[in-house]
Structures are given as C-alpha cells and as structure tokens.
C-alpha cells in the first residue's frame, strides 16, 4: 500500500528531517510513528501525501511513484488519503455537517451523495444529532471526531493521522483511538504519528521509531520504547 525507498528530506540547510528511510506498509495495517518532537514523524506523513517532495528516494502509494506524478494528478491521489491533525483544521464558520460535506463538495460529489454519506459517517464517529453545531460549541474530542469524519467520508484507502490525540485528555484520546481502530477494521490503512506512550503501549501495533530523522526500530506489535 505504502512503500518508501531510501527517502531523504532536508529543510533548507538544517540537518536532514528524514534520512534514508525505507519501509513497507501493507493494506489494512495500523502503524505508529513514534519519537520526540522534531524526529521526523510529521515529515514522513507529509511525504506520503506529497505535501513534501524528497531530495532522494521514492515514495510509492498504491503501486505508484508519487514523486514523479504530474501535479495535476495529485488531487486525485489525495482523494484516496484521509488526513487528521492535532489541531483538527476545522472551518470555524461552518457547522459539523457543512465541515464534513465540504470534503465531498469540493471534489464535485453530487448533493444526493452528500445528503446520504455525511449523516452516515457522523453516525459512525458518534456525532449523530450534533450536525448543526459549530466547532466552538464542541469539546476537543468532538472536534477531532468531526475531523475524522471529514477524513473518512470519502472512504479513503489510507488515513494519515498527525498527533490526533495531542490536544486531548487521556480518556478522550482513548475514545479517538477506539474510533481509529474501528476505521482500521474496515480495511483502511492507518498511519499515525504520536509521542503518546500510553496509547502506543495499549494498542500493541506495529511501531516505527525515529530518532533525528533516522528509523531506529521497526517492530510488529511493539511498545513505545
């Protein structure tokens, strides 16, 4: 599903953010990227949806080299990828329903599809009945659920989550992890960057550990360290 071949990425003249990273992620896998801030977790995620281009190496997604892909094809690649962020990136002037519908609207899905899929995904993330709330009327956990609903409404093959529990208290974070686990069980590949030890140790999934841009450990059913 995802493969990196000796990928390196440097920002400006600093030390490389990612150095010579290689790994394979199979369809339906759940993978944690762990490591301290600045170890290159986020950069790896950004390389996977071509928000960044590597200096060296190749990123393969669904069997395609996304680095040599034409710019005009990138939007269609991104429709196969859902993104979740620590700060949710919700649109504050839109309701819960509109935030999720927006993701379908801007890729040209017809109204009847939106009317059918948005309530279904809101039900899935546990936000049924809160369609008309605005983000500021929701708790942090609920806001993250909206962002997960938005990432998942188009049924992507891959979900990239950058510190999704970073702003949440442990109990709420746990709820979010249950939700990501359920989504993973539908066959969606989930890649999550985190430095939340408790969550990683609880889930016992594959762990890729980074230290200053270098992969120092890649372990099935791993723990944080």
């Amino acid at each position: 599903m995802i493969r990196l071949d000796s990928v390196s990425k440097t920002y400006g003249s600093e030390a490389p953010a990612v150095r010579d990273a290689s790994f394979d992620i199979a369809k339906g896998e759940f993978v944690f990227f762990v490591g301290p801030s600045g170890s290159g977790k986020s950069t790896l995620l950004r390389l996977m949806n071509r928000q960044e281009q590597p200096e060296r190496g190749t990123v393969w997604l669904v069997g395609r080299d996304i680095n040599s892909m034409a710019d005009s094809k990138i939007p269609f690649l991104r429709r196969k990828i859902g993104n979740i962020f620590q700060d949710y990136k919700l649109l504050l002037n839109k309701t819960v329903f509109e935030n999720v519908a927006f993701a379908l609207e801007v890729i040209g899905r017809p109204k009847h599809v939106i009317r059918q899929q948005v309530p279904a995904v809101l039900e899935l993330v546990g936000l049924a009945g809160k369609e008309d709330r605005f983000p500021h009327q929701l708790s942090g956990g609920e806001q993250q659920r909206v962002s997960i609903a938005r990432a998942f409404v188009n049924r992507p093959l891959i979900l990239l989550a950058d510190e999704p529990t970073g702003n949440l208290d442990p109990a709420t974070g746990e709820g979010i992890m249950k939700l990501l686990d359920r989504i993973n069980n539908t066959g969606t590949t989930v890649v999550m960057a985190t430095h939340d030890q408790r969550i990683v140790n609880q889930m016992r999934r594959r762990v890729v550990q980074l230290d200053r841009g270098v992969i120092v450990r890649d372990q099935e059913r791993g723990v944080y360290n």
Binding site: D71, P75, N83, K89, L91, F102, V106, G108, K111, N154
Partner: protein, 300 residues
C-alpha cells in the same frame, strides 16, 4: 457539475461581501482606467475623422486675383491641367467669385468681422486642386510655379494645417495610450491584491480543500470569477461614463454646425464597438489578473 457551479457562485458572492472596501477600490480603478482606454479610442477616432476628411479634400488652393481677366484664368487652368501626373484633373474645381463668397459665408460664420470685409466683388476666386502625388515637396515646387503666373494671388497648402493637426493628434494618442496602460496596470494590480487578500482570508479553507483533493482549478475558479466580476463591473461603469461623455461632446460639437469641427463627432456605432471592447478588456484583465494571483498563492 451543478454542485460545482453553485459552489463557485456562492463562494464568489461571499468573498465579494467580505472585502467591500478593497473590492470597491478595485472596481473604481478599473472603471477609471477603462474609461480612459475608451476615451483614447474615441479621441483617436475623432482626429482620424478630421484628418480623413481633410486628406480626401483639397490640398492645394490657387487663389486668383479678383481683378484677373478670363484669359489669365484660362492660362492658370491650362497650367493646372498640363500636369495630369501630379494633379487629379478630374477633381479640379474652379470656384468663381459667387461660389467662393458662398463658401466664405460658411467658413467665417463665427467671424462676422471678416465677413463684412468680403464682397462677391473683392473675394478671390479659387482653383481647388487635389494632387495625386504624395510627395509634398513636389506639390510645393509646383505651387511655386503657379504662384509666378499672372493673375495668381496666392497658393495655399492644406498640408501645413494637416501636419499640425496630425502632430497634435499623434501626441494626444501617445499620451492617452500611455496613461490608460498605466492605469490598467494599476487596476490589475488592485484586483490582484483583492484576490490575494481574499485568499489569505480563506487560507484554512484552501488548505483543507487541497488536502481532501480539490483540483487547483476548482479552488481557483471562484477567485477568478471574483476578479472577472470586478473587471466587468468596472467596465460597465466605464461604458456608462463613456456614453455620457460622448453624448455631451457630440452635443457641443454639433453646435458648430457645418464647420470642419463636425468631423470630430464619433457616431454611436463606433462607440458601441468600443464599449464592447472595454467590457472584454475589463473581464479578461480581471480574470487573468486574479487567475495568476490565485495560482501564485495556491501552492500549499
């Protein structure tokens, strides 16, 4: 498809409302610059009308002394007709004193003092000569020969007046064209800036759109539509202004009925073409300016 169109229209309208001051500034600047573009065309057309009328007209007038006898007039006419390679003999016209007096009545309608001095007896009769040759030196040389003939009072060259007007027209043409280009650039710059502000206000939305896989065109089109609309509204205002300006000008010039100045009137048909052109320039400049701005600021 319908979703996309309704999306674009909705977003354009929302952005328009969000940025009232900047939008107004962009619209007013495009209106003024397009008005100047239109005025440039009209002024050029007016001068062209005037010059065309003169060019197709007499370029050399041989005035005959009022006391010249018919034989002398005959000699002058012979001399003129003996140069068929330089002079268009078919268009050679002789205005006798009565005809010259009638013409003077028109030419000096605004100058009764001069008119009083003229009588059908003292006015010179005249040969109106249309040269074939374009070379003004050749014509001038010929004119000097005629001046030496007995009975000739004066030889006048329309070329002199024509040159002055042509030079003035050329100057005005360059000046107004330069001004309208500068203003047009300012207008595009302002539209560019409004679009940049609009995109900055919506940077979160744009980021999300890019991440969920909206195409660049999809993101760009509402902004281009906004720019196009700004240019177009400016152009409509400019058209209204141009129409008013031209009507006022035509009214003023037509008061000088029957003089050469009436050539300065630009007819409605031409004005309509210019208005169409202005609308086109406004729309294209707005859309292209904002499209480039949108592309510049789109790389997330």
């Amino acid at each position: 498809m319908l979703t996309r169109i309704s999306y674009a229209v909705r977003e354009t309208w929302a952005s328009f409302q969000r940025n009232v001051t900047l939008t107004a500034a962009a619209i007013i600047t495009s209106a003024v610059s397009l008005l100047l573009v239109g005025a440039t065309f009209l002024i050029q057309r007016a001068f062209d009308n005037l010059l065309t009328r003169w060019k197709g007209d007499v370029e050399l007038i041989v005035y005959v002394r009022s006391d010249a006898d018919p034989e002398q007039i005959q000699v002058i006419e012979q001399a003129l007709r003996s140069q068929p390679s330089i002079i268009d003999v078919d268009q050679l016209r002789y205005l006798d004193q009565a005809a010259s007096y009638a013409e003077a009545q028109k030419l000096f309608a605004g100058d009764p003092g001069t008119l009083r001095l003229l009588t059908p007896e003292n006015i010179p009769s005249q040969f109106k000569v249309v040269p074939l040759a374009q070379d003004s030196n050749l014509i001038r040389e010929l004119g000097e020969q005629y001046r030496a003939l007995p009975g000739v009072r004066e030889v006048a060259y329309a070329q002199d007046v024509f040159d002055v007007v042509a030079r003035v027209s050329q100057f005005i043409r360059v000046a107004t064209t330069a001004m309208s280009i500068v203003l047009l650039i300012v207008a595009v710059g302002l539209i560019w800036n409004t679009i940049r502000t609009a995109m900055f206000a919506r940077r979160r939305e744009i980021e999300v759109m890019k991440l969920v896989g909206a195409t660049n065109w999809f993101i760009r089109i509402p902004f281009m539509l906004e720019g196009l609309l700004q240019g177009l509204i400016g152009a409509v205002l400019a058209c209204a202004g141009l129409w008013g300006l031209n009507s006022a000008w035509s009214g003023a010039v037509l008061d000088f009925d029957d003089t050469e100045l009436s050539a300065l009137v630009v007819t409605g048909g031409f004005v309509r073409w210019i208005m169409l052109l202005i609308l086109l320039i406004g729309a294209v400049a707005g859309a292209v300016g904002s499209g480039i701005a949108a592309s510049r600021f789109l790389d997330v």
